[in-house]
């Protein structure tokens, strides 16, 4: 067992595992190959073998070939970092020897090719808290995590701090829930902590990252699962829970595998189990695998699902903090929130609170995708502007394309237009702009995207993911989709638009849970900024972006209005 | 060469059009009666529980929903394999007779009397019930009162005038109270008097319609109707089938009406949503037959109520034993009104009419059932197949109006040939083409159990089939 408190005192043992190549002696250079799902899908797992062979073949005895988590620039995978050179090599394909020439020269000592990390427009503006170890430690080796300072915060908390002190630190950090709604994390912890429960309490990590276009949580779990486990264990200690669950989507097999492996490792090393870090505090973690239902991201639905049932939400109050799993007080935070915790405890709440804006502290991880040059996983301090993200880190749009909107917040989020690009990214500003922080999906759209079609896309998502329990969501999402569909076919009317808006208002106000309450947002936000596109579809039967087929155009007579209330006595 | 379209056919119960082809010499060469609506009851009821069928089927037609209720309930009775309690059988009969009274009154007074009273050539703007009320208020009031008499009985029994849900598989849902019976009985003398008065008026004026009577679908044909198996009297709810030819030979007599497919075939024509039934042994289209008031009077020995039978005797005396002119549907209709009023009185005076036992319950005992009854405009067949759970699997309906389809087509041709010459078409001529349809009182809601509506269109075609002209009468 590793001695707690002096984790970095002894260097991690070097041994040859199945994949990584670890030299016997001192390391002069190392190739850190990204092994997150994105790069793996481009063959980075095979690259690990191929490159190891090549390094051995070239007689580079002091070069390590290692497995790391996500390096961020997913569009250019497989990615290989050479930290000693401060460089990242892009598109290093296992079946294309030429793509590895620069990398091999770099490993041999010649600084050649690759992308320098320092001063890079993609890498250098980023500030990493959650992704601190992503791309530097081997996600499957607890030793790597410990060597990088991992589990010191847990050890500190359980041995040096009272639970209330931990909570206080979290409160002080100003951390807010990274799952979407932005509820103050410290407040939530305190609510659970003060509950009296004979039957126990629970800590649940929500890793049911369902937003299309969002993969932050997956990357965190794939890149550094121990950081999340550490955060959970600290939470368990702080609120008085001894059992934790991680609810992960079944679509993330690699995350599940690494997480399960990490739980075993942490148990073996004494970071989880009956006596955490040698204290009387016990904390176990189980993985629960979701089965494909977006609504399970909603906390009461998630609880129902963890309990083995249909993932349908229930009205709140009571909130899970008072009555959650099996009726017991339950703390539910998302992956990114937990991943912030070790740093908050280790460096103090004030340290986190020093970053970000007045009311949004710390950093936020985003999955940047869509019509920008650099897409991938980024972490930025709260308060940077959208323009910095899109045109700085993202590298701007393809030549000849015009920026139209950036979509944030997933299906319940919204589309933000060009004239708001200088808006700071924080919870309040995004909400004010008619969108939301959400879990961190950020999709850039150019003039080839039709905003009516985009609204229809999100509505289609919502109607398919509606659990069906309450009528406004079950029926409302269907009907809103039908109105939007009609518009994209060139059959919409002004009356349809009126109906759509009033329906959207009703669904938002009366739905049982966040899914239904948020579903109309795609309509609201696109109407707010792109009403002219709707009107072009309706009045002129034209799709300005050229996306919609508008095939009902010209024979609109054959399409029923579906609705219609006359002006009194008006003959039309 | 021209085409004439009468659209819509007005003062009829439904949607149809008539297409008349006129040859180069100006003579009418063809005429087709087209029903233009279809709702698909034979398909949309598949998958429904059989106990909903009577009420469902009532929605085929708002004019004679009760006829459908009855035929449907009878088909369901057979599927359940139950004997309907005696009182329920009588009560169902009362409702059916009341139905015939109100429907006949509707046709005669509201729809046909404008032609009869005001003349076939009168101003179309006033050729309607309002015009009748202005010219002969008494006649209009009698019409309204007789229709109300029938509708009120239906309301008394079923709680609702149109689409009562009271007739159910196995019987009826509620028994009759003494008070209800007495109310109905109390209304009979007045209704009887109005029916007699109208008959007198009709008979007095018969001579003035001699021209139309001679040419409105006047041709020998077969006739079909239900008769009581022992007495040979009219039997509207539970009779056996009788088919006679133009000379009165009984082609079918005392036969169970349920296996209708043994006697009747159906044909589809491309120009109408209404199918054409025919008498199978004679083939299609030779097996043309007529149903409804005139046909019933021709097939029965007697009606079964004394005053009406006296009227029947006079009818036969003046027109012959087997009158073939469809114009005489009107007279037959009035006689039936009288007969139905009196028969309602007879039945309600029966001893066991107030019995509380009015419904038999059972599970599905047969997978197939046919229900037959006389609707105001003819014999009605409902034929269902169900699964063991009572879910409808297959439905075929042979509807009263349908039986007359071939006859109506032939009548339209006859009238068109007589009154339409060339493409100079007088309004009154077109009205006569419609009027012959009115005589049959086709219920096109019923006939469109399958689909449709009835604008009357007169289309004139060239010999090569090209549509030359389409005439729609302009509004008044």
């Amino acid at each position: 067992m590793t001695a707690v408190g002096t984790p970095a005192a002894t260097p991690p043992p070097r041994r040859r595992q199945a994949g990584p190549l670890i030299p016997e002696g001192p390391v002069r250079a190392s190739a850190h190959i990204c092994q997150a799902a994105g790069c793996q899908s481009m063959g980075s797992d095979r690259l690990l073998e191929v490159l190891s062979d090549e390094v051995l073949g070239a007689g580079l005895r002091d070069v390590a070939v290692g497995r790391v988590g996500c390096l961020g620039l997913c569009s250019a995978g497989p990615l290989v970092a050479v930290p000693e050179q401060g460089r990242v090599f892009e598109r290093v394909r296992p079946d294309d020897g030429a793509s590895r020439q620069d990398l091999l020269s770099s490993l041999s000592g010649e600084a050649k090719g690759g992308r320098p990390l320092a001063g890079d427009s993609f890498f250098s503006p980023q500030v990493k808290v959650v992704l601190e170890r992503s791309g530097t430690v081997d996600p499957e080796r607890v030793d790597d995590y410990v060597a990088s300072g991992g589990y010191t915060a847990l050890a500190k908390a359980v041995s040096e701090m009272a639970p209330e002190e931990v909570v206080a630190e979290v409160v002080k950090s100003g951390l807010r829930g990274r799952g979407g709604a932005g509820y103050p994390t410290g407040l939530k912890w305190r609510t659970v902590a003060i509950q009296d429960s004979h039957a126990g309490k629970y800590v649940v990590c929500n890793a049911d990252e369902g937003d299309p276009g969002a993969f932050m949580d997956r990357s965190v779990l794939e890149s550094c699962p121990h950081q999340v486990l550490e955060g959970m264990a600290i939470a368990g200690y702080a609120v008085g829970a001894s059992q934790g669950y991680v609810y992960v989507r079944a679509e993330y097999p690699l995350a599940v595998k690494r997480l399960s492996h990490a739980i075993r490792e942490a148990g073996r090393e004494g970071f989880l189990g009956r006596e955490v870090a040698g204290t009387r505090f016990g904390f176990e973690v189980e993985v629960r695998i979701g089965a494909g239902a977006f609504v399970c991201g909603e906390e009461t639905a998630l609880i129902a699902s963890v309990q083995g049932g249909r993932g349908t939400p229930r009205p709140r109050p009571p909130y899970p903090a008072a009555s959650g799993l099996w009726g017991c007080p339950t703390l539910i935070n998302n992956v990114e929130t937990f991943a912030n915790i070790p740093a908050v405890v280790a460096k103090g709440g004030e340290w986190l609170a020093s970053m970000g804006t007045e009311r949004s502290k710390g950093t936020k991880v985003f999955a940047l995708a869509g019509a920008v040059a650099n897409t991938g996983l980024i972490e930025v301090p709260m308060g940077v502007t959208l323009r910095e993200i899109v045109f700085g880190i993202g590298g701007g749009l393809a030549p000849g394309r015009r920026f139209k909107a950036v979509q944030t917040g997933g299906p319940a989020g919204g589309c933000i237009p060009e004239d708001l690009l200088d808006m700071p990214v924080d919870y309040e500003s995004l909400t004010q702009a008619g969108s939301m922080m959400g879990s961190g999906g950020m999709i850039v759209m150019d003039d080839t995207s039709c905003m009516v079609d985009v609204a229809k896309f999100f509505m289609d998502f919502c109607r398919e993911e509606s659990c069906g329990k309450c009528a406004p969501c079950r029926v409302g999402t269907q009907e809103m989709w039908r109105f939007l569909d009609r518009m994209t076919r060139g059959a919409g009317t002004r009356r349809d638009l009126e109906q759509l808006e009033s329906l959207a208002d009703m669904v938002r106000s009366t739905s049982l849970c966040g899914l239904g309450q948020g579903a109309p947002n795609s309509v609201f936000s696109t109407l707010r900024y792109f009403r002219d596109e709707y009107l072009a579809h309706i009045d002129d039967r034209v799709c300005p972006a050229g996306v919609c087929a508008m095939n009902a155009g010209g024979r609109s007579e054959a399409v029923p209005a579906g609705v219609g209330v006359a002006g009194v006595g008006s003959p039309k | 060469m021209s085409e004439i379209i009468i659209e819509p056919v007005t003062r009829i119960e439904g949607h149809a059009k008539i297409a008349v082809s006129v040859g180069p010499d100006g003579a009418v060469t063809d005429a087709r009666f087209s029903v233009t609506q279809v709702r698909g009851f034979e398909r949309i009821t598949v998958g429904r529980p059989m106990h909903e069928m009577p009420s469902f089927m009532a929605r085929i037609c708002g004019i004679c929903p009760t006829s459908h209720l009855l035929a449907s309930a009878k088909a369901c009775d057979e599927i359940l394999g139950v004997t309907v309690p005696r009182a329920a059988r009588h009560l169902r009969r009362v409702m059916n007779l009341a139905q015939i009274v109100q429907s006949h009154a509707l046709n005669f007074f509201h729809l046909s009397s404008p032609d009869l009273l005001l003349g076939f050539d009168s101003d179309p703007a006033t050729r309607n019930i309002a015009g009748v009320a202005a010219r002969a208020p008494e006649l209009a009031r009698d019409g309204i009162a007789l229709r109300k008499f029938g509708q009120q009985i239906i309301e008394t029994l079923g709680g609702k005038r149109v689409h009562p849900a009271w007739v159910v598989p196995g019987g009826v849902s509620t028994p009759l109270s003494t008070e209800q019976r007495d109310n109905i009985l109390g209304a009979i003398p007045d209704a009887h008097a109005r029916a007699v008065r109208t008959l007198e008026w009709y008979k007095e004026n018969l001579a003035s319609w001699a021209e139309e009577a001679a040419h409105f679908g006047s041709f020998p044909s077969l006739y079909m109707g239900l008769v009581h198996h022992r007495t040979g009297n009219a039997a509207y709810s539970d009779g056996h089938l009788r088919m006679v030819d133009a000379e009165g030979h009984r082609l079918l007599d005392d036969v169970d009406p349920r296996p209708y497919w043994d006697y009747l075939g159906e044909a589809v024509e491309p120009y109408s949503y209404l199918k054409s039934p025919f008498y199978k042994p004679l083939g299609y289209p030779a097996g043309l037959y007529r149903v409804g008031p005139l046909a019933r009077l021709n097939v029965v020995d007697k009606l079964g109520s004394p005053v009406a039978d006296a009227e029947l005797a006079e009818f036969r005396l003046r027109l012959g034993r087997f009158p073939h002119g469809s114009f005489h549907y009107h007279w037959a209709r009035l006689i039936e009104i009288l007969h139905c009023i009196d028969t309602i009185g007879q039945i309600l005076s029966g001893p066991d009419i107030l019995d509380q036992d009015v419904r038999a319950h059972a599970a599905v005992n047969n997978l197939e059932g046919v229900g037959v009854s006389e609707a105001p405009r003819g014999t009605l067949f409902h034929h269902y197949r169900v699964d063991k759970d009572g879910i409808i699997q297959w439905v075929n309906l042979v509807i009263a109006t349908g039986h007359n389809n071939l006859a109506m087509n032939r009548s339209v041709l006859q009238v068109a040939q007589r009154y339409i010459k060339g493409d100079e078409v007088r309004e009154g001529a077109l009205n006569r083409v419609e009027a012959v349809i009115r005589a049959y009182d086709p219920c096109l809601s019923c006939s469109t159990h399958a689909l449709g509506q009835m604008p009357l269109v007169l289309e004139i075609f060239a010999p090569d089939g090209e549509l030359v002209r389409r005439v729609t009468r302009s509004p008044a």
Binding site: P571 | Q37, R59, I63, N128, I144, V162
Partner: protein
């Protein structure tokens, strides 16, 4: 004072609402005293006239013919009333929608024993893909529910409209219920 102009129209329905209209019995004569019926199943006008004050439309819209007539009625009427459940909700005729017109026609005309089995295609109007309530196609001023609406409610409604009450006031004053 000139009489008001009242019209009725019968689309895809059973005529039960029209029958219920006649069930006003003697009150019918009162209505006829207030208004001329200028179009409908009871009168001879072949074409829907201009300048109609109130039109009662019974039935859903099932065929191209229904639609043509409905649009004409809307254009030429000051107040258009959806008359009965078929016009208001689609009711029984709309039960063909989950099945589709093609399957319905095939079932009725091809799958039953018949001479010349065929789907009628001459003179008859084409069926629309869906049988829908009338407000799916044109604006409606007043909804008079019921299968059929009772004569009393029809009288109440028609009388008020003929007396010049605005449709929304009539709508609030007249009781209603589906079925």
């Amino acid at each position: 004072m000139s009489k008001a102009r009242l019209a009725t129209m019968w689309l895809d329905g059973c005529s039960g609402c029209h029958m219920s209209f006649l069930d006003m019995d003697e009150l019918l004569l009162e209505v006829l005293g207030k208004a001329d019926i200028v179009y409908g199943a009871f009168v001879d006008a072949k074409e829907f006239p201009e300048g109609v004050d109130v039109t009662l439309v019974e039935g859903a819209v099932g065929s191209s013919e229904d639609l043509r007539k409905l649009k004409m009625a809307r254009e030429r009427s000051r107040v258009l009333v959806a008359f009965g459940d078929c016009a208001v909700t689609g009711n029984v005729p709309s039960l063909r929608n989950p099945i589709g017109p093609k399957a319905v026609l095939e079932s009725v005309y091809l799958e039953k024993p018949a001479v010349n089995p065929q789907i009628p295609s001459q003179l008859v109007p084409e069926l629309l893909e869906e049988d829908l309530p009338i407000h799916a196609w044109v604006p409606v001023d007043l909804y008079l529910t019921g299968c059929p609406p009772s004569a009393a409610r029809i009288y109440d409604c028609v009388k008020r409209l003929l007396d010049g009450e605005p449709p929304e006031a009539v709508s609030e004053a007249v009781a209603f219920k589906f079925g």
